[in-house]
Amino acid sequence: MTSKAMSLSYLQGKNGIFSWIFSLDHKRIALLYLYSILTFFITGATLGVLMRLELLNPGKDLMEAQTYNQVFTMHGVIMIFLFIIPSIPAIFGNFFLPIMLGTDDVSFPRLNLLSWWIYIIGAIMALSTLLWGDGPADTGWTFYAPYSVKTGTNVTMSVLAAFVLGFATILTGLNFIVTIHRLRTPGMTFLKMPLFAWALYATSWIQLLATPIIGITLLMITAERVFGVGLFDPSIGGDPILYQHLFWIYSHPAVYIMALPAFGIISEILPTFANRTIFGYKAIAFSSLAIAFVGYFVWGHHMFTAGMSGTARIIFSVMTFLVAIPTSVKVFNWVATLYKGSINVQPPLLYALAFIFQFMIGGLTGVVLGALAADIHLHDTHFVVGHFHYVMFGGTGFALFGALHYWYPKMWGRMYNKLVANIAFVFLFIGFNMLYFPMLVLGLMGMPRRYYDYLPEFHVPNMISTYGSWILATGLLLMFGNLIAGAWRKREPIGRNYWKTGITLEWQTLSPPPVSNFDRMPVLPKNGPYDYDNKPEIEE
């Protein structure tokens, strides 16, 4: 397997636009996803910064109330459906799952390409709402009925876009499940799989089983808006609480579609930079499954004030607290992985450490919201906005940035400037916390969310938060600028294992990998994927 053709990298060979947008190579599809997802992330982040600008002072700073409402809806829809849900699985899952399993592609390469196309069509549908009629939806990304049935904005199209995007998610999930079951390299049992693969496995089941529920719910909204079928709007015989149940039956598990892959990333970064085996492999692997399972039964915690029976509220609160247990088990195992390591502090590790810190804040504020009494005060306030940004952005977002910095040399066979990467990280870390911590304070003070204007008593934390958004934006510009500039930097020798201490199979192949992923048979470490005592010697 060492012939020249075998070692031609996936970036070489045909390079016209069609060789990319119709490529069946999982690595090229991963890059298609990467570029499109990051474009939407930057769009969404711009909208976020505009919202913060509007909230700098009470009263109107920049835009009208209606515009603000459309902006936060667009921001939410982009960040949830176009950024965070596909993000790590579609980019890094696509690129690295087959390589980590020692195989040459996913089980269904054509479905994989189809999923990207579906994603693009859904994205165009979502963005098209900007162009006609009364403009993009003004309902919030949750599309709560009956407001979503009554408003004149382009809700129907937004909802159909989310419906279409769901199929991209389902196909990716299906593809990964089959790939993990069928294509592991000989000798790799389930318990010898890298933890990133485990995390994707748990995620894929949620993608496959939960997404159809949001699909049907969104179709019901469409039926109600277009044909006047009374499902959720009481003025035509529907039930608004039914909508909330259906919506959250999907959207809570969806939170784990966003979070579990990030856990997988952290479980890869830590051993590499601690240069030692992961602590508690099985605990980390199985806690993902436990979270995915229990996560199905907690959706009611979004509805503690909506008018459920007292018993239901208590059950949902108990279930919510249960999820905290496997989640904290993970955190403890990660921190223990640093114990007696030989730690090499590099940009990806910084992101992983920031992830642990910020994710803890996200998780612990989630526990606050799971407690009945506390949630009555904090529900639908800025505390919730702070909480979910800590989970999704401070958690998953930072894990994604970490993954970009971790696998960058592998994916492109080049390197970014590490000093700039570290400086960008400092901006991002400070900016992020300055942006979102004040929101937790605002919520405790009693400022509701989705608020275009606020009482003067809320001014100071809002100001601090907006200043934070400027620091964060600077950090994002620096980080993306630095990663993009890497393409023009003088090539340095990357080698197969750039960090020297990577142990999973992607570090045994060339950087960037050849089209068929490996130029020679990968060798598994003797006792499990993170067996640093028997780390295979890799010749360049």
Binding site: G307, N344, A373, I376, H377, D380, M445
Partner: protein
Amino acid sequence: MLKQGASTFAEGVDLSLYVIFGISVFFLIGITIVMIYFVIRYSKKRNPTSTNIEGSHALEVVWTAVPTLLVIVMFYYGWMGYTPMRNVPEGAIEIEAYGQMWKFSFEYPEGKVTDSLVVPINRPVKLNLHSRDVVHSFYVPAFRLKEDIVPNGSNYLWFEATTAGRYDVLCAEYCGQLHSYMLSSISVVSDSEYNAWLTSEPSNAGEHPGLSLLKQNACLTCHSQDGSKIIGPSFKGIFGTTEIVITNGEEREITIDEEYISRSIKDPNADLVKGYMKGLMVSYADVLSDEQIGQITDYIKTLK
């Protein structure tokens, strides 16, 4: 950060917040310090060779058991703080509370209708929550109290205020364009002040009955009387003028007369004035009688 609590619930809610925040801050700071300590103590320079520890059953048991105990404690405090909110004491004053885009209004058992609440101190008050259009939420930060106002729902809440004063009421569930302006207040007063207030004449005596109806039904949050455009067209000088409306997607010209005004109140989206958004106004057919619509029309005629 928390406002001074002013209802009997505040203590229970705040206690649950303090307990959970206490535990959380302890773990957050503890774990972060350990993490940073490890990164420094076991840096490549200080510790050139690592030790591969695969895990520890004892530790896994400990750090599963400890969080389990802690979440039981946290759940307990959350539950305790919450239970009283669902048990309305006998003899509570029962007030009907209405939410609509973008206004709260209240109907006292004695028949008084207001857009802010006045309640006696240390007496339980129950609100039955009704929405005239979409979902809203009745939120009083100082009382640590919130419950959604769902159309056709049967939600309720109750409270007992413990400190005299005036407290903000905010809408916490997004309900459209002016959600952040959907505000009201609760004034907590002594028993005697309350009784005096309850029997006082409404301050709008002598007002045109049509104007009173416009105020009570929050029409004026969207329709101005001075010609300015808010959400819907202004009422100023519209009677008798012609207007382009959109009926079933087609533009046509109509004259604003009694019949058109009545139709616009009962079926607002049938003839939509060009340039305004569909769906924002709901039908008031069940809310306003023909006689009341007549009074409103009379009042609109006076706005020149």
